[in-house]
């Protein structure tokens, strides 16, 4: 009898004993004893505030795009939790190599919201702000940032620095060679990188099921000898436990970890997308029941860690902060046309200086 691919025997395609970590269920009820740090609620309230701010910042970005005040923008609605957690847990001199849906994490890293708006508003200076530190800019070419991450981590190792890189990507990115090549290197060299896959179930119109035949995306780590774990990506407590352990592990020379955070993209891919073309409204409605902000809010209310008065104050404060960032963005003076040429090379070559003169002459004749 020939052995079949799906029938066991000689060949196996199934995995997997990838653990799945969750502390709060979708109703905000603990499903296991919470870790000690979570008990007094202080950090949880901080996470809650950060998610509320990110959501308002996101809402405002979409509103600006819809009214012609900003370009195409990829919303992070529904996936605020991983960002606020890694953003809180990383040290300032660690490095983030993000993808392009990481605004919540970037804000926690110290990036100005006005810079986020500036970037999506079509201005290169949006990736130049001091708040970025040494963090990499938004990475649009899918998964390429994973390779930068292992390079940055190698630099840390070469210099004996106890710093860590966190690199994020979506579920679709795990199909790309860059992700797998970087993961492979991380396994071989044990460099201090945390690969955080934010599995929001959709790569534009391609659902997770059509993206990859593996049971989990996390298990791609296994092929590279990198430990892997799935976590409820809408549960800040679980995320804190998993990401925190991974960062500390990396910091202590034990190498990389792959984390797959399971969440859901409640929005369109970008403002230029219409997700009703390819997904069922009923699925989206169900996903709303699991979203992270409401879940944590329920927990906080149930445990007397939050009150309607505090909620009201937070909403007002957040609206004010976001509005201020909008104003900063809108009042940013335009760049000089010299800037189009000034950053191509450290020193602008003769040929480019000539082209700049051409452009200036053209403008003078207009």
């Amino acid at each position: 009898m020939p052995t079949t691919l799906d029938g066991g025997g000689l060949f196996r395609v199934h995995s997997s004993d990838v653990p799945f970590v969750r502390y709060l269920n979708t109703d905000g009820q603990p499903v296991q004893k919470l870790p000690p740090w979570a008990e007094n609620g202080q950090q949880l309230v901080a996470y809650y505030k950060a998610m509320v701010k990110a959501r308002e910042a996101d809402r405002k970005a979409i509103a600006m795009q819809r009214t012609g005040q900003m370009g195409t923008y990829p919303s992070c609605l529904g996936q605020e939790a991983p960002g606020v957690v890694y953003g809180s847990l990383m040290k300032k001199d660690d490095v983030l190599a993000p993808y392009y849906r990481d605004m919540p994490g970037q804000l926690l890293r110290g990036v100005e919201l006005s810079d986020v708006y500036l970037y999506w508003g079509g201005d290169e200076r949006g990736s130049a702000g001091e708040g970025y530190g040494q963090d990499m800019p938004n990475c649009v070419p899918i998964a390429t940032q994973a390779c930068h991450a292992v390079g940055i981590a190698s630099a840390f190792r070469i210099r004996d620095e106890r710093r860590v890189v966190v690199t994020t990507c979506g579920d679709g990115a795990t199909s790309k060679g860059d992700f797998l090549e970087a993961l492979n290197l991380a396994g071989a060299w044990k460099v201090p990188v945390v690969f955080l896959i934010v599995n929001n179930q959709w790569a534009i119109s391609i659902p997770r099921s059509a993206q990859c035949g593996a049971d989990t995306l996390a298990q791609k780590g296994a092929g590279a000898g990198v430990p892997c774990v799935q976590v409820d990506g809408n549960d800040v407590i679980a995320l804190h436990e998993v990401i925190g352990s991974a960062i500390e592990r990396a910091r202590h020379g034990k190498g990389a970890v792959v984390i797959e955070a399971i969440t859901y993209r409640l929005c369109d891919h970008t403002t230029a997308d219409d997700a009703t073309r390819y997904r069922d409204n009923e699925d989206v409605r169900k996903a709303w029941e699991e979203e992270p902000v409401k879940r944590l809010q329920t927990y906080l209310y149930n445990h007397g860690l939050w009150s309607p008065e505090q909620e009201k104050m937070l909403q007002e404060q957040v609206a004010e902060e976001v509005q201020k960032a909008v104003e900063t963005y809108q009042l940013t003076p335009p760049q000089s046309i010299n800037d189009l040429f000034a950053y191509q090379y450290a020193e602008t070559p003769v040929s480019l200086r000539q082209q700049l003169e051409e452009m200036q002459e053209g403008l003078n004749h207009e």
Binding site: E124, S127, C147, A149, L352
Partner: protein, 327 residues
């Protein structure tokens, strides 16, 4: 005495050696560059001398090598990565074009990529498929990249030292056909040659011969032959393909009124086309003959049994020179 004289690949090795010695931020990485010393021995003995942390054998993954080099560079290291053959560099393109070339611009100078990608390139050594192409024009087309090609041991040493010093990404292409054909005494340790500058190898007043890389040798032969016939060739080694030093080329053609461009890469849409266009635009009235190009044909690089038919020959170059001189 021959020990003091170095081949081009030995000059590369020495430049890397001295760069590692002079600057602790310089690191090497690539496939087989460590224990094996590189398949052409360009990194011979460097792992033993500088250790595993600075001379790194990577897994076999060109995309990752390019991306990792970018990551290291953004941290202020000066990584020098080897891509074993230019035929395998295409996996790096997204990283080089999408990131290395534009990191400075897209962060307004907050992050930069002081990095070098070295790759042996070109035909003429009877190598297998995918080992002989010349695709420098692909990189020259990309804003933000530098493309540098040495044509002698002296220039290999001086230009590679400068490329490693350079604060922007440099694609450093080594013409492997001339890796070992010539020995030269190198100038004193640490001396640099300028980037973004053509080298006038011989002055002449009758015609300007513009070339780079391995083709410099055939052009030198033609230059010598024409000298016997009383024709004074000004021979220019472009050396830095991008950014292109047009001033040197234009000054020469302004003097000679004649220009022949020679490159091994396929003719159409190549670097020769850019030079010819600029010469025509700037010197239309000074030109005494149409600009000529001698280049590879627009065909897939032949396997080695037929590669001689592809390579620009002394005969072809001489014919092109005759055409412009007869005008």
């Amino acid at each position: 005495m021959s020990d003091d004289k170095k081949t081009l690949v030995e000059a590369v090795n020495l430049a890397l050696d001295h760069a590692l010695a002079d600057d602790k931020d310089v690191v090497l990485l690539g496939e087989d560059v460590g224990t094996n010393g590189g398949v052409f021995r360009a990194t011979q003995d460097l792992k033993d001398k500088y250790g595993l942390k600075r001379v790194m054998d990577t897994p076999l993954a060109e995309t990752m090598i390019a991306g990792m080099t970018i990551g290291m560079a953004t941290q202020g290291l000066k990584p020098v990565a080897e891509i074993q053959f230019m035929g395998f560099i295409f996996a790096c393109m997204e990283q080089l074009v999408g990131h290395a070339a534009r990191m400075r611009n897209r962060t307004r100078g907050r992050l930069t990529c002081p990095m070098v990608i070295r790759a042996p390139f070109g035909g003429g050594i009877h190598a297998p498929e995918h080992h002989s192409e010349s695709t420098e024009a692909l990189f020259a087309h990309i804003p933000g990249l530098r493309v540098v090609i040495p044509s002698s041991p002296v220039r290999a040493y001086g230009l590679l030292r400068s490329a490693i010093d350079d604060p922007d990404p440099v694609i450093f292409l080594e013409p492997k056909r001339i890796y070992r054909v010539q020995r030269q005494t190198l100038p004193k340790q640490g001396s640099r040659l300028p980037l973004d500058t053509c080298f006038t190898l011989k002055e002449g007043s009758d015609l300007t011969l513009v070339t780079w890389g391995a083709c410099v040798r055939e052009c030198q032969e033609v230059t010598r032959n024409l000298a016997k016939e009383g024709v004074g060739v000004e021979l220019i080694d472009v050396a830095t393909i991008k950014p292109l030093d047009m001033d040197t080329i234009l000054a020469s053609v302004r003097k000679t009124g004649r220009c022949v461009i020679v490159h091994e890469a396929a003719r159409s849409f190549g670097v020769g086309a850019e030079i010819a266009a600029r010469v025509s635009t700037e010197l239309f009235h000074e030109l005494r003959a149409p600009v000529q190009r001698v280049a590879g044909y627009d065909i897939t690089m032949p396997y080695y049994r037929m590669e001689d038919h592809y390579m620009p020959s002394v005969g072809q170059i001489a014919s092109a020179c005759q055409i412009v001189c007869s005008c």
